[in-house]
């Protein structure tokens, strides 16, 4: 049976198709955007409303072993935020680490339809997929962690770049992963011994390789494999004063590999690595310098990791940073290292307006968003739940769109921090078109999702309609209206079906899980398998036969194929 839908009279913001606020009707048939539908098709009158493609979150920790450890660690987080069962939804809990179903519903309510889990330990990725299977409505994918992987470090140390590419291709296939994730390259391996690694040129003990070589090597591998998304990097030195230099150094480490086509490195949650100063006392914002670098160099994209004041749960694969945060805050701490691959840590945290450091962090994120000129290379995230839960996105949108909103918050933050930030002097305000860019079009483009992030004919019919009248002047003077509109979409349409209406979930379905397969030459593949086979027993405590995840394990898999150059 064909299902058709027409969205008429809305004001459309579809930056990928150069539609920036024109009245345009959107037609949908069988889950895709089409040119026209029959006259009797169901019609939504979006008059006086904003129509955008469904939101795309490039970096949000929603599934997997560390997220679940975060849930287990924090019953107090759940008790204060429950979602009772309704006609169309099953119940759930969780403020900063919601249960899987609640995650799917909450994103849907905000008009988000695609969310990427950015850090999965390969050995435990079966767990990640189980949770993604249990996250309803939204489409999703996960990035396997490869920056501390023993095979990767050894291949790169030995200069075997093609073999490393073949290994990464095998790994993506085995884990049904989407992109190369690098977290604190080399630093998590060293943390296996409880030690810290600081600089980009420090040597990783026992592996005789530096973080710089890992980042450069995997950047080359990414190119060889023609993967849709660039390397996704959480830099070294995260959370340390002065780390903005490491961030710029990391971006610059791959500058010569740029081919001028599209960004080749994505630095994630750049707020956390945008600290200037030499101690907590003189901590400042490195955002102007980072933004300056990004404005001058086209090979980099970033996402924010915006801080939201309030209670949250920090969780990263950066085990050493989490230990540091535990010592700093005195809060409870979980650490889980994963053999031959990576680690992870979890610490509950409260960002306080009156706290000097937290206020500076809040400023860094917004400064970055406002100082980077090209909205196609800066994406809105809170690094959920590290900067704050994703449910705070409407707040961030209001800050970006309205200097009045920023000023209001700034009047309540630590005064010394306010004095030291550039933010009070920045008057840029995002337009709705730019919001549509940084929350859907640009991340979809960066992820290489050709059917997402836009409303052109043939695109997936993922649409968000917000009850916000763009014809009204002085929208920026009314941040409360902005927040209200983006908090609960008037309609969220996923694959052509209305999934939520005014914040109420009206139906449920299974979203897709994307994964990438890059085909390498059969000779390289067979040599690789021999080598992995010979070392696997030494590196892992499970058998190689039990490592790869079958496609059938994913409830609704969607493969993106590409061809490697080797």
């Amino acid at each position: 049976m064909t299902t058709e839908l027409a969205i008429v009279n809305g004001t459309v913001f579809d930056p990928l198709n150069q539609t920036g606020g024109e009245k345009q009707d959107i037609f949908i048939r069988d889950g895709k955007i089409v040119n026209s539908v029959r006259r009797k098709a169901r019609t939504i009158n979006a008059s006086g409303m904003v129509v955008m493609p469904g939101g795309v979150d490039i970096h949000s920790h929603i599934a997997g072993s560390k997220v679940n450890s975060g849930r287990l660690l924090r019953p107090e987080d759940h008790r204060k935020d429950v979602e009772p069962r309704t006609k169309h939804t099953l119940s759930g809990v969780g403020h900063s680490v919601p249960s899987t179903r609640t995650t799917g519903y909450r994103y849907t309510r905000m008009g988000y339809t695609t969310v990427f889990e950015p850090a999965t330990p390969p050995l435990k990725t079966r767990h990640t997929h189980e949770e993604l299977n249990a996250t309803p409505i939204i489409d999703k994918a996960c990035f396997p962690l490869l920056g501390n992987n023993w095979f990767v470090m050894e291949y790169l140390r030995d200069g075997k770049i093609e073999e490393c590419a073949a290994y990464v291709a095998w790994m993506l296939k085995a884990t049904k992963g989407y992109a190369i994730k690098i977290v604190d390259p080399g630093g998590v391996e060293v943390w296996g011994w409880g030690k810290f690694l600081r600089g980009l040129d420090d040597t990783v003990a026992h592996f005789d390789i530096t973080p710089r070589e890992i980042v450069r090597g995997l950047c080359k591998v990414n190119k060889i494999l023609n993967l849709p998304h660039p390397i996704h990097v959480h830099t070294n030195n995260l959370g340390n004063p002065g780390n903005y230099l490491t961030t710029i150094e990391t971006m610059d480490a791959v500058r010569d590999l740029d081919d001028g086509k599209k960004p080749i490195i994505h630095i994630t949650h750049v707020q956390f690595t945008g600290f200037s100063g030499s101690s907590w006392l003189n901590l400042g914002s490195g955002a102007p310098e980072i933004a300056d670098y990004i404005n001058k160099h086209g090979h980099v994209s970033v996402d924010l990791g915006q801080v939201i004041f309030g209670d949250t749960t920090t969780m990263t694969a950066d085990g050493p940073f989490q230990y540091f945060l535990h010592k700093l805050s005195g809060n409870k701490w979980v650490n889980v290292d994963v053999e031959a691959e990576t680690g992870s840590g979890i610490v509950p945290f409260q960002y306080k307006r009156g706290n000097y450091v937290n206020a500076i962090q809040w400023g860094i994120g917004l400064e970055l968003a406002l100082l980077v000129k090209d909205p196609w290379r800066v994406f809105m995230t809170t690094d959920h739940p590290n900067g704050g839960p994703f449910t705070a996105y409407p707040k961030v949108i209001a800050w970006l769109m309205s200097s009045k909103a920023r000023e209001k918050t700034m009047s309540k933050i630590n005064r010394t921090a306010k004095k030291r930030l550039d933010l009070p002097g920045i008057d840029r305000e995002y337009t709705l078109e730019e919001i549509s860019t940084v929350t859907r079009a640009a991340p979809a483009k960066s992820l290489g999702l050709t059917n997402k992030g836009h409303l052109g004919v043939g695109a997936d019919a993922d649409v968000a309609i917000y009850d916000l009248d763009p014809s009204k002047r002085d929208l920026e003077q009314n941040p409360i209206a902005i927040r209200r509109a983006f908090k609960e979409a008037a309609y969220t349409i996923k694959d052509g079906m209305i999934m939520s209406k005014k914040g109420q979930i009206t139906g449920t379905r299974l979203g897709r899980t994307f994964y990438v397969e890059s085909t390498i030459s059969s000779e390289l593949e067979s040599n690789l398998l021999k080598e992995i086979n010979s070392k696997f027993k030494d590196y892992y405590t499970i058998e190689i036969d039990n490592y790869p995840i079958a496609e059938s394990f994913l409830h609704n898999p969607s493969k993106i194929s590409c061809k490697a150059e080797v």
Binding site: L72, P84, V93, E130, E131, G192, G194, V334, N335
Partner: protein
């Protein structure tokens, strides 16, 4: 018939989930299990003993055989009538079955609990307070130079733990037994203790005191007593020195710690000790989980509801308060008016008051074998063995996830837990719809 050998078979006995078994099958019978420990071979070669083959319903004259359809219908009707049913067990089945179980509990507005609440539950309560420093078992194999077993006897309960993952395993940075120090702390000289480099015999139920003293020693605080828990302070300080001076230490504990007096407070102390040690060196801690998928039960329940066990759906959203919403406590207070037990034998294991209450309410059991619980049940549904007769996902004690295999066909007509539970859920929903 030809023999067929399958390798990399995942064992479904204890939390070690060893996956290097080679199982030979002939005529739909397992005839050999290479690499298996005594527990594992005994299960693989003896899984047909005391099997249930046919669903049964209790009538006036005792059990009578019936069809699955009938048993499922009676089960669904019983659950639909109940105001607060209890769903219990789950640690010896697959994650897929547990997911259906959680939905059943939510659909009926009942309680769901897994065997954690009578096992390593106190560990989880400790983690809520302190957190934990942990890792996958391979990290210990590669790096650990000190391994402590506390109140745990792996020689009998986790027979391959030491050879595959700890002291006797060969890792990247530790090649042999001589490069590792093994410490056993227990109330008696167990067979594991006999293999240790250092055995410390302590007084029963004094774990909290000994752990706290050790932590004080690690911090460099002076201990004023001469001995704690029957262990001299010199000895405690010596232990602390070994722990501080190792490169990578691991503390494994069994029910000897978890279920001794103090329970979750013992775990507070153990988790705090390990946290303290991390300011001096690298140290991890891990419970020796008993059932092959008890960790999976905790994980599935946590991602679906936020909480790992002892779940209460009576208010339309998940609530969690072990001690109030855990199975033993609910039954002891006679709060449940029916129960569905899956892959567990609570009648044998629960305290008398809880067990007798369980036997007095309508009781439905899904299990491959005849057990005291099935004997007390009103409806019995035979099921296939996960990892032998049907596949499914399971979680090793360290959270590594494995996919089990189907090695042989189940006895004729016998269904899997997932099939049975899904059919009950479907039937229940249709009864609800029809009012």
């Amino acid at each position: 018939m030809k023999q067929q050998t399958t390798s990399s078979v995942v064992c479904t006995v204890c939390g070690c989930c060893c996956d290097h078994l080679e199982v030979t099958v002939q005529d739909n019978k397992i005839i050999n299990a290479k690499n298996a420990c005594a527990m594992s071979s005994s299960k693989l070669l003896g899984y047909m003993n005391e099997r249930l083959m046919q669903p049964m319903i209790r009538g006036k004259n005792g059990f009578s055989n019936c069809s699955y359809e009938k048993a499922i219908d009676v089960t669904a009707r019983t659950l639909a009538r109940s105001r607060s049913p209890l769903f219990y067990g789950w640690s010896l089945t697959s994650c897929e079955a547990i997911e259906v179980g959680v939905e059943l509990a939510e659909e009926t507005g009942g309680f769901i609990d897994n065997t954690t609440s009578t096992c390593h539950g106190p560990m989880i309560l400790g983690v809520h307070e302190i957190g934990e420093s942990s890792c996958t078992l391979g990290e210990i194999r590669h790096r650990a130079d000190v391994v402590v077993y506390w109140g745990s006897n792996p020689v009998h309960a986790h027979p391959l733990h030491m050879s595959r993952y700890t002291v006797m395993s060969k890792g990247r940075f530790r090649r042999s037994r001589s490069e590792r120090k093994m410490i056993v702390i227990d109330v008696r000289r167990t067979d594991t203790a006999k293999m240790a480099d250092i055995f410390v015999q302590m007084e029963p139920n004094k774990d909290y005191e000994l752990l706290s003293a050790l932590r004080a020693a690690v911090r460099g605080d002076e201990i004023e007593q001469e001995e704690v828990a029957g262990v001299s302070v010199d000895r405690i300080e010596e232990l602390a020195e070994i722990m501080i001076n190792c490169e990578f230490g691991a503390l494994f504990f069994g029910l000897g710690l978890t279920m001794s007096a103090g329970k979750n407070k013992n775990l507070d102390a153990a988790l705090s000790l390990v946290r303290e040690l991390n300011s001096k060196t690298k140290f991890v801690i891990m419970p020796m989980r008993g059932h092959f998928n008890v960790n999976g039960a905790n994980n599935v329940m946590t991602w679906l509801t936020g909480y790992p066990y002892a779940l209460d759906f009576t208010q339309g959203f998940p609530r969690y308060n072990p001690g109030e919403t855990s199975a033993v406590d609910l039954l002891a207070r006679s709060e449940c008016d029916s129960s569905l037990v899956v892959a567990s034998d609570p009648i044998s294991n629960f305290p008398h008051q809880a067990a007798s209450n369980l036997a007095s309410i309508p009781l439905i059991t899904i299990d491959p074998h005849t057990t005291p619980t099935t004997m007390c049940s009103d409806v019995v549904l035979p099921s296939a063995h996960v990892g032998i007769e049907t596949g499914g996902t399971i979680y090793r004690m360290d959270g590594v996830v494995l996919e089990t295999r189907t090695l042989v066909k189940p006895p004729k007509g016998v269904k899997s837990d997932v099939e049975i539970l899904s059919a009950i859920l479907r039937r229940l929903k249709s009864i609800r719809r029809l009012g």
